[in-house]
Symmetry: C2
Subunit: 336 residues, 2 copies
């Protein structure tokens, strides 16, 4: 089948997506076959790709603006996990056949707003129609000084485990939007829904972590705190303990837990927070706390890196105030 890149696609691109590349010569006006970029000298390129599918990764009822925030957030959060400075995004948009043009216009507006804080431009992509659900793939490019990318593999026994922001809001926000959590104040409802729909990737904080070299391993929380810290443990050959009461919760999340104590599960395994969890030697703590203050982003010491222990099956244990493991379900989200 010929590539459906004539007619309406060109109109859509020039009307809605070209404005998002304005000011970036690298995009070649979205008119060439590819974009041409320069990576600053002494820097490495950091590249990540994430796809979100309607009904799988986002609710069909989510507004077009929120969908844009979600896919941008997931990708910029992956750059943040590496300590990279965001540079550019490429969008492959699969719009469902018959989708009203209003939806596309609102999606493009959301994309522009979601990219604005980072100054990142849309440098290219592909726009196609699909008989199936909508899906959006963003490839995000960033750069990091040579050898200064944050990796998952550097955690060492004795390191502290730290997390930015409040944990669990993403998963609780999804439950709120699905109608599974009732009786919240409007303020708490909106806070959680907003945290789910419009994540704020922590690339600004992460850039400083990379620059200052304070961190031994890092990851962003997309699959859930336990699962993502588990990725660090597996890559580093260590285990970790989390002290449950040290994990920072928003007022809204606390209000949910008072009514639905079993939702503690969502806090630890729910995902979609797009906060950072990272490890650092204890000697870095004062500098990290200073950074947290400068950037007005809360930071909590939530646990510690432990040696690999043959007797312990789980790489991450969550402990209650008595130091006893809290049993969590299998966690994670199994779909494929």
């Amino acid at each position: 089948m010929p590539n459906p890149s004539t007619g309406r696609e060109f109109d859509i691109i020039s009307k809605y997506f070209k404005p998002l590349s304005q000011g970036a010569d690298e995009a070649l006006g979205l008119l060439d076959d590819a974009a041409v970029l320069k990576v600053p000298g002494g820097h490495q390129l950091v590249v990540t790709t994430d796809v979100v599918v309607e009904g799988v990764h986002f609710l069909s009822s989510l507004s077009p603006e929120d969908v844009a925030y979600k896919v941008v957030g997931a990708n910029l959060s992956d750059l943040a996990a590496m300590g990279a400075t965001p540079h550019a995004v490429f969008l492959a948009a699969q719009f469902s056949i018959g989708l009203p043009e209003d939806w596309i216009a609102a999606f493009a507006a959301g994309l522009q707003s979601a990219l604005a804080p980072s100054g990142v431009k849309l440098l290219g992509g592909d726009t196609v129609s699909t008989p199936g659900p909508m899906a959006f793939t963003i490839t995000a490019l960033g750069h990091v000084r040579d050898g200064r990318a944050l990796m998952r593999s550097g955690a060492r026994q004795g390191d502290l485990v730290l997390a930015t922001g409040t944990i669990g809001d993403g998963a609780l926000g999804l439950a709120v939007l699905q109608g599974d959590i009732q009786g919240l104040s409007t303020q708490h409802h909106d806070h959680l829904a907003g945290r789910y729909a419009r994540p704020e990737p922590r690339w600004g904080f992460a850039m400083e972590l990379s620059k200052r070299g304070l961190v031994s391993a890092a990851v962003d929380i997309s699959d859930g705190l336990v699962a993502d810290l588990g990725h660090i443990c597996q890559a580093s050959g260590v285990t970790a303990t989390i002290e449950a009461e040290q994990v920072l919760l928003s007022d809204a999340a606390q209000a949910v837990l008072e009514k639905y104590p079993e939702r503690i599960q969502d806090v630890f395994t729910g995902g979609d927070d797009y906060e950072l969890v990272f490890t650092a030697p204890e000697t870095a703590l004062a500098d990290l706390e200073e950074l947290s203050e400068i950037l007005s982003l809360p930071l909590s010491v939530i646990g510690r890196i432990e040696p690999l222990d043959g007797a312990c099956e789980e790489s991450v244990q969550v402990l209650d105030t008595n130091g006893h493991p809290i049993l969590l379900g299998s966690g994670g989200y199994r779909h494929l």
Copy 2:
């Protein structure tokens, strides 16, 4: 909804896609949040993204290997259009729920074969399941010496229009696979079907074009010869004429045209050839012909760049042996 990146997705990645990153430290074992790459000094980065959707861009009956060849081909062909040396690809795979694992295994094997000639590695991506048709997005990265990218915008009045390889095989191959063309010899049938299913992007030839600085504008033929040359004309502010009888056809395409003369339309407007069409001053012709010989890739002078003419609505005219315009349908494929 939490990111479905636990469980089966991890198994699929480690079993089928991790081998495609082997030997590339940049991929970080497909275990980190992003890949970290180095662009060679004095070079710019070239980035392109293409998505193919089952039933829209490829036939559901296409083998998994052929689907892999198609999506790799489309992307490496976009790099070729810019004269870039292919460096890496990232894959966002949307597999339909319930797709047999055999299909995924064969797709991964096809990906490996399709990437092998260029030495390009899979450096990362995303693997999700979808309730809709399958779709694959590849983002391809290449590099080109500073300022040496081939653009669409450099064609000048009097330049020759040249094309690599044989034209029309892609579209005729699709018609063959759809059963719309009957009575071909097995050899001709297989040639056209193969040209559709397993395009050979011309990045090797294009790298030399960039290195030698022989070309004023270039594009790859994905939307059809007339439409893609039209892109050069629009970007360059010129028009072009093509002499129909100078366009090189394969024996198989000639056999089709003997039986179905109206299929000449497919040759000029059909797309999916993944050959290069480019413009160059006449003084470059001897060097271009030498390059064609060295790389054993046929090259034809098929037309000429003309000034913008207010009286001529079409930016590209195809002329018969008497110099009269051949009327072609609206061409292109309008889908969205």
